[in-house]
Amino acid sequence: MKKIYLHPLPIRIWHWVNALAFIILIVTGAQVRFGNVLHLFSFETAVNIHSWTGFILVANYFIWLVYYLATRNIKIYIPPLHHPVEFAKKAIRQAKFYGLGIMVGDHNPHHSTFDNKFNPMQQVSYLMIMVLLIPLQLITGLLLWDPKLFSPVINLVGGIQVIDIVHVLLWIFFSAFIIVHFYLATLGHTTWAHIIAMFTGFEEEEEEEEGHGAHSSH
């Protein structure tokens, strides 16, 4: 067993704040929307928590952005599109692993390192999430926070209903995503390996037995 340093402290802080904020926002968002059937908080309390947490999430996003831009490590999110065929093959191999290989005892074809943390599927997903979906959710949330203040922007995109639709659809997506994300986090070489790594920064990894990219257990 060897330990690989995967998650620097700023990213670990960002991740857990992000995770907590996401859960709070999803739950308070549900309370705001389903006030007739859900009674966790009053509408006013739900909005207060949602708004405060939203701003925390905005600030948190900048921790992530500034860190990766400053360290130029943002490249770990960028798929190697200059080798599209090879990238597609790797992605298919990764999908096969999650769909079949993991069932029959294959090793994870992706070997995470500090500079190559994500497998191809993660890379595409996280790029979309971090560069498109989360900013979109933060911006639409901000616009909904005070529609009058941001009315020029809101009118530019067609109206507040448009903003709401985007925000709600992303809320639906993130609600489903976070469940799947949590499950996928348990698919390390042990159930808790990825999760512990997100606390400690280090992920334990089995020693390679032979060949490239393959792992063997002892």
């Binding site: 006030g35 069932m103 529609p147 009058k148 809320w171």
Partner: protein, 679 residues
């Protein structure tokens, strides 16, 4: 002692008269009368009655000598009075009492049965005393009296007194004629029967007359015997008045003056009132009529009481009275209201910008002009309380609502700036208030710091921004929160997306090639009386193909205008955000589509809830309502379903994957064992 002295004096007086009798006696007078006349022939003899009236006791000896009663001794009539001479002075309260007593004495000879045989006596006996018509000491036989007297004098013999006749309707008709005024009138030299043709010295029929109106009509017939219709119609005013007014209503009856004398003698207002104090009316093309009667005391007490009639009615004067023709009463009121603007130009200019004027322009003729609130000739100095009377005439449903409001309670307590109708709606430039920003402005006139006060609690953390408060102020009518008992509704206003202004109904009617009455049927395709999301989408699509980009912007208001007036104490205002921001909020149950006219007046159509989410069909309304969304209240049901599906999917994927992993764990164990074997 005094009584004895008094008796002795009278005995002495009678004794002396007895001695003088042979010398004083003359003609057919009875001896008794001669004795009485010894004193009563003296013109200076009078008695002051208890009510201070001076009562002459003089009797013209010659006249009495030729009267029908000359041979009756004085005591024949004055029974009690002769005896009174023997005692103390007879106390008489008034002439009326004396006349009444004297007349009763007549009935000693002229019995009621006898008198009632004469038809005219029968009704008169109840109201006129014998002496009032027949006189007292100079009564002549009727035949002789009639022979010697002219007709007018004959008639006035009775009619100079306060005679009346009770008509079938119960109205009391005065029959008295002022002799001097009659003689000074232009008809003063006419005999009575010239007009009252049925009557003469020899005939006095008893007529049954239903009411004064019928009597007046009869009198008009009399006039027309001399003043022919053709002659009267030469004057345009007469021509128009003949249909509605009786001659006597303008000209009077027994005091008629020539028109020249009437004009010269009377001030302008009196001249006008000579006709208009009568029950005149004018008629209109549509068959309506309007009273043009002016109540003189009310006019004098009005704020315009010192004005001349022509200062308002500038087209009229003593010398001109144009005949105008109006389509209807309302048309007349509207035209005549313009005259107010000559002095009240500011108010008139404001009025031209009012909802009332806009209604009039759009042929809603019941909308008030100046006189609708201020009246015609009874205009009083007005304050803001005027509306509590005049506004309530047309808006009675607002009355009870306003009276229960905190505003009225404050007014009743004497709070100076407590609002009445005009405080919010303006006095003359009355505005359409339903779902407009203007009514909010009206509230803010008094509640100047309302936005700042609301900002203290109506904000979205972490910042207290005024814009967030303004958002609510712009989309929720003040009454929607401050009239807690009111029903609420969502009013989706049709706006021009490009200009950001209401899309005018007039333009919509042109595009649909219909009129206001047909508009609903053009939008409500399935004719169920309510506009749904598909119909809203079709409206949007149709207008878009016609080059008009529109959008529906919703606002919350109370359900009825009356409810908007029942403003409660602020502690009772709706302050719970969840009251609105909830999928089941009752405030979002009633939905309306509002299309405004160019002048701002709304036309409100019923709409369905699917226009604001609530239904899968609501997706049709997404595009038409892209600018309307209320957090937690206008949720699109499709997204709710999608959320549930996503949650189920999000849970199903890990469970499914985990299940497969559990099922396949023997495979992995086997493979692991093989690898272990190799090793």
């Amino acid at each position: 002692m005094g009584a004895r002295k008094h008796i002795l004096m009278v005995l002495f007086f009678v004794f002396v008269n007895f001695l003088l009798y042979p010398y004083a006696s003359n003609g057919a007078l009875s001896d008794e009368a001669k004795v009485c006349l010894t004193c009563h022939a003296n013109k200076g003899m009078y008695k002051t009655l208890q009510n201070k009236e001076v009562f002459s006791l003089y009797v013209d000896k010659n006249e009495f000598t030729t009267s029908a009663h000359n041979n009756i001794g004085c005591n024949g009539c004055h029974t009690g009075y002769m005896a009174a001479h023997m005692q103390k002075k007879k106390e008489i309260k008034s002439k009326k009492e004396y006349t009444g007593n004297a007349s009763r004495i007549c009935s000693m000879c002229h019995t009621d049965e006898q008198l009632k045989k004469i038809p005219i006596h029968s009704p008169l006996m109840k109201q006129a005393l014998c002496v009032e018509c027949h006189g007292s000491h100079y009564i002549k036989k009727m035949e002789e009296w009639k022979k010697d007297i002219n007709e007018t004098q004959y008639c006035l013999g009775c009619h100079k007194h306060d005679l009346t006749k009770t008509l079938s309707s119960g109205e009391v008709l005065a029959l008295s004629v002022n002799e001097s005024a009659y003689k000074a009138s232009i008809h003063g030299k006419l005999s009575c029967s010239a007009c009252h043709k049925e009557f003469s010295k020899t005939k006095h029929p008893i007529r049954t007359i239903k009411n004064k109106r019928e009597y007046t009509a009869l009198s008009t017939k009399s006039c027309s015997t001399c003043h022919t219709d053709a002659q009267l119609r030469k004057s345009p005013v007469h021509s128009s008045l003949l249909a509605t007014a009786a001659c006597v209503e303008c000209h009077g009856s027994h005091t008629i003056k020539s028109i020249v004398a009437q004009k010269a003698g009377a001030p302008e207002n009196q001249y006008c009132l000579s006709c208009h104090k009568g029950r005149l009316s004018m008629s209109f093309k549509n068959g309506e009529s309007l009273s043009v009667f002016v109540d003189e005391p009310s006019l004098r007490n009005s704020i315009h009481g010192k004005l001349r009639c022509t200062e308002c009615h500038a087209d009229f004067s003593k010398s001109k009275h144009p005949v105008r023709v109006f389509a209807s009463r309302r048309n007349y009121s509207i035209v005549t209201s313009d005259m107010c603007g000559r002095c009240h130009s500011d108010a008139n200019t404001k009025y031209k910008n009012s909802i009332h004027h806009a209604l009039l322009k759009s042929a809603k003729l019941m909308a008030p002009a100046c006189t609708g609130c201020h009246g015609f000739h009874t205009v009083t100095k007005t304050g803001k309380d005027l509306g509590l009377v005049s506004c309530n005439k047309c808006h009675p449903d607002m009355k009870s609502s306003y009276e229960a409001s905190i505003h009225n309670k404050a007014r009743m307590k004497g709070v100076q700036n407590a609002p009445a109708c005009s405080s919010c709606h303006n006095a003359h430039d009355v505005q359409s208030t339903k779902m407009t920003a203007k009514i909010k402005d009206a509230c803010l006139v008094c509640h100047k710091n309302a936005e700042d006060k609301h900002k203290k609690w109506l904000y979205n953390p972490p910042l207290k921004l005024r814009t967030f408060t303004e958002l609510h102020f712009n989309t929720v009518a003040c009454a929607a929160c401050h009239a807690p008992d009111a029903g609420r509704g969502i009013y989706l206003n049709l706006y021009n997306r490009k200009t950001g202004k209401p899309f005018p109904e007039e333009e919509l009617l042109k595009l649909f090639d219909t009129d206001a009455a047909g508009l609903m049927s053009k939008i409500d395709m399935n004719k169920d009386g309510s506009i749904d999301s598909v119909e809203a989408w079709n409206l949007f699509k149709y207008l878009f193909t016609k080059g008009a980009s529109t959008t529906l912007i919703g606002k919350m208001d109370v359900s009825t205008a009356a409810e908007a007036h029942n403003i409660a104490d602020k502690t009772k205002a709706v302050k719970d955000c969840g009251a609105c921001h909830n999928p089941d909020s009752p405030f979002f149950k009633d939905v309306f589509l509002v299309i405004r006219k160019a002048d701002g007046r709304p036309t409100v159509f019923n709409a369905k809830q699917d226009l604001i989410g609530k239904d899968l069909k609501s997706v049709y309304a997404i595009v038409p309502t892209t600018k309307f969304y209320v957090l937690g209240s206008t949720n699109l049901k499709l997204w709710d379903i999608l959320f549930i599906v996503a949650l189920i999917g999000g849970i199903a994927v890990p469970i499914g994957h985990l299940t497969l992993r559990i099922i396949t764990s023997p495979l992995r164990s086997l493979r692991s064992m093989k690898k272990g074997g190799k090793k």
